[in-house]
Symmetry: C2
Subunit: 570 residues, 2 copies
Amino acid sequence: MPYRAPTGDYEFIFSQLINLDQVSQTEKFADVDSDTVSAILTEAGKMSEEVLYPTLRNGDLTPAVLENGKVRSSPGFAEAFSAIGDGGWISTSADPEFGGMGLPFTVTMAVNEMMASANLALQLNPLLTQGHIEALEAHATEELKQTYLPKLNSGAWNGTMNLTEPQAGSDVGALSTKAERNDDGTYAITGQKIFITWGDSDFAENVVHLVLARLPDGGKGTKGISLFVVPRNIPDENGEPGVANSLKVVSLEHKMGIHGSPTAVMQYDGATGWLVGEEHDGMKCMFTMMNNARLNVGGQGVGVAEAAYQHALAYALDRKQGPTPLGNGTIVDHADVRRMLATMKAETFASRAIALESALAIDMGNATGEKAWKARAAFLTPIAKAFGTDTGIKVADLGIQVHGGMGFIEETGAAQYARDVRITSIYEGTNGIQSMDLVARKLMDGGEAAYALIEEIENFAESARATRPNMAEMVWQASETLREATEWMVKQGDLNERFAGCVPFLNGFARILGAHFHLKAACAEDGEGPRTKLARFYIKRLLPEHAGLLAHATQGAKELYDLGIDDLSA
Amino acid sequence: MPYRAPTGDYEFIFSQLINLDQVSQTEKFADVDSDTVSAILTEAGKMSEEVLYPTLRNGDLTPAVLENGKVRSSPGFAEAFSAIGDGGWISTSADPEFGGMGLPFTVTMAVNEMMASANLALQLNPLLTQGHIEALEAHATEELKQTYLPKLNSGAWNGTMNLTEPQAGSDVGALSTKAERNDDGTYAITGQKIFITWGDSDFAENVVHLVLARLPDGGKGTKGISLFVVPRNIPDENGEPGVANSLKVVSLEHKMGIHGSPTAVMQYDGATGWLVGEEHDGMKCMFTMMNNARLNVGGQGVGVAEAAYQHALAYALDRKQGPTPLGNGTIVDHADVRRMLATMKAETFASRAIALESALAIDMGNATGEKAWKARAAFLTPIAKAFGTDTGIKVADLGIQVHGGMGFIEETGAAQYARDVRITSIYEGTNGIQSMDLVARKLMDGGEAAYALIEEIENFAESARATRPNMAEMVWQASETLREATEWMVKQGDLNERFAGCVPFLNGFARILGAHFHLKAACAEDGEGPRTKLARFYIKRLLPEHAGLLAHATQGAKELYDLGIDDLSA
């Protein structure tokens, strides 16, 4: 059951749904044409299919381990990572001055999605490195850039992110890792960090950590935090890895999935670090890359959904079981199996379109500097992150169900998708936190970005009445309900009223955005093609869920908190 | 974080929601009084808390393995199983003539649920043995009963079920295991069976297999199948385990969860078997126990939901993270965490009430022989199975989410609940098959059993208007929608039209039944107690999902099948 990269879907979404050409019309991306994009998709797809995917099970069966303080990676991962580095797939959007390709983030999202489909545990390595690169590009000194960026872009070195501490998970401001000024302008970093993805690797010549820490005069909370580059081996005068720094991997976590990705507890004992950005300004530097990182995690969910779908479809086309109502003779003909497969495909498409639309808004915001694009990107990002990862989890779970009893047996691989993808709704900000961000910060504009999107959905539905009247009407009606729910949210002065329904609100918004893209896909097609049939499935059978979600979203906090701790413990 | 048996919930449901006293008023269960039931719940709860629960992680960390053809069970399982056998917890509903307690199945459901909460992998052993006992009680000769039942009831021997073969999973009629008549009245059984739960154990003196096989003159399909008792060791003249039979465990599966439960591939090479029931009548014998077995699997889902909820609540009460809106200072005060916990508790309660109501209907059907009770039991069983297991999966998943990053780390145990419970929506008939059963066989009466339930829901809602007007109105409205969806189902002559929406139909029905029981619970309470607050949460925030589900349920098959294999593969 080989994985097949869905390049046709990306091309369709780029040209028909999100109009990637807009990006090429900006000065920043003037060199990007659709032939380049096609070639990139084809090559990255081929690499994902042929090089990464064959190593997927290795990571699960032979997890990364810690031996004498060093990480030993899963079999085949070193070679697969070489192919990622050599192909330039770490640095598709990186600055060409330091060896990147300078392509739009939208294209990188598609490339990352394919790598995530093929091997999520390994893809985390370039994904974290990309975030690292972005932070350095935006905030590091020229000297740091010259030293680190070419190595990170090529894959010679790996980059990590060190935010979390045991007492400071979602509450980054509570961190206690210390930074002290050395006489030579460097800093001494001391503390423990947890959940450090790819905290070490045996295939990188060096591993470079971006570490959040607090200077002695750094205030409390997020405002007193600074950001540092802390390399495992300190670069020598030739820029090659030199003496070992005072840091170590203490242990690796035993996780439900992504066993091939070493999740480290890192200990820094006065390790030498270099400041990135200004002192006490580390959180701003992190925020630079946070939108992209969140969106990329959404893309991981989409990627696993795609792979789990293909895996389940192949099984359903092959597995004979009982008399079937159609002539294919395999379980794909059972109505309920077809319902599951159609759900998987329709959800994957919707979440992919939302993720790529969000990426486009980021590119357009960066290229044009326009406030509306930036606001749109900011609004869509938490939706794309949460809906993409929820879709990954839901689709992988349905994939197990399609396999029946075989889905529970690890050898088939269906369970691995579900175990691997489960982390994505947690890291890079849990989906609860994404939803809080959506209803609080992202509605601080009085709902302007939200209403602009809703209006777009309504306008498109109006225009679609001519050719797809039934679907258009359903989408239009749903967007009216969404408008009411959004108005309710905007009206709540007490944020906790919003938070009480933030997750169903985000889910309802995503449901309707998904319907919008499905409707657009149907309208881009003449007659009754596959996209129209899939759109009809989604709009008639899944879109109706929005009503229950938005009813839940607008119940407020009081009755929720009436359920006190005694009641919950009863 | 110890598990605490929810005995208060059972007593409340028994007395206030399902009226267990009805059972005591029948001749069959005249000896059962509420003091006995309370004592049983207390003792079984204590054993589950103190003996079974401490072994839960052992099963996951040290799975059952096959050594020299014998199963070696996980550490502590032998001792824990002894406590189950010694307490009589295998045979609470078994015939007192052979050592059982003769209690209603409703009480056994509660006992089984507690054992499932405490250690699902181990609980499967007595659960399968119970089904085995039931089949023998109903269909075996007096001699077989005398030989096997006392041993199975005491836990000296274990019982298994052998239905599945590689090519015959959900399609049992396709099985190919052969039975041939021996001259002495026994049979020679030859073939391979897969997915045999507890196919061997090192703590039972003997393991007895119930095996479905086909005689040479057995016709094709399910009608040509016979049922046999095939012991691992053939009982000698004293009824003790004698010579080894010609059967073996070939291998154990590597599974996503329930690692402590050995899932065996069994090979029978002319093994000696004894006929149960009539030749070619094996499926009827299996059906005897299938309702109870299905319901028990639903109860497993409820049990894991309960344990996962308690586990997550304890974490949320302890974990500090960020400023909270209330004074407790832990994450339980974040609105979205409270939403998750309230959802977990409300869903667990709803699924438990449905499961116990179904069990009551089985008891009443057995005790009175009344057609209406039997029809009610038959109708509720697939709902209780599917909703109970879906609830287990959903609640365990939310449990991971409440834990944040720690949820993905195996040491916390949150992930184990999700991995363990995942099988329950697959085995004993996938939830898709439960749903097909519901809309086909269980509506063959023209919807009589369904409408009787809907009427009960409506009538109760009417009567609740006096004290709980808002909730009553919502339940009443929902039941009207349910009536319409049921009418739509009943009208479809082509079963495939029903099958296209059977899963959302079952889920919608369960949603509304759950609301009914929550409303009943609220009405049983004076003022604003914990059950009323929980009911309000469920009815206002979760019940609205029924509309989307039932809209999906009634879309029919055509547009689903319009999505052809080419479209799914596009």
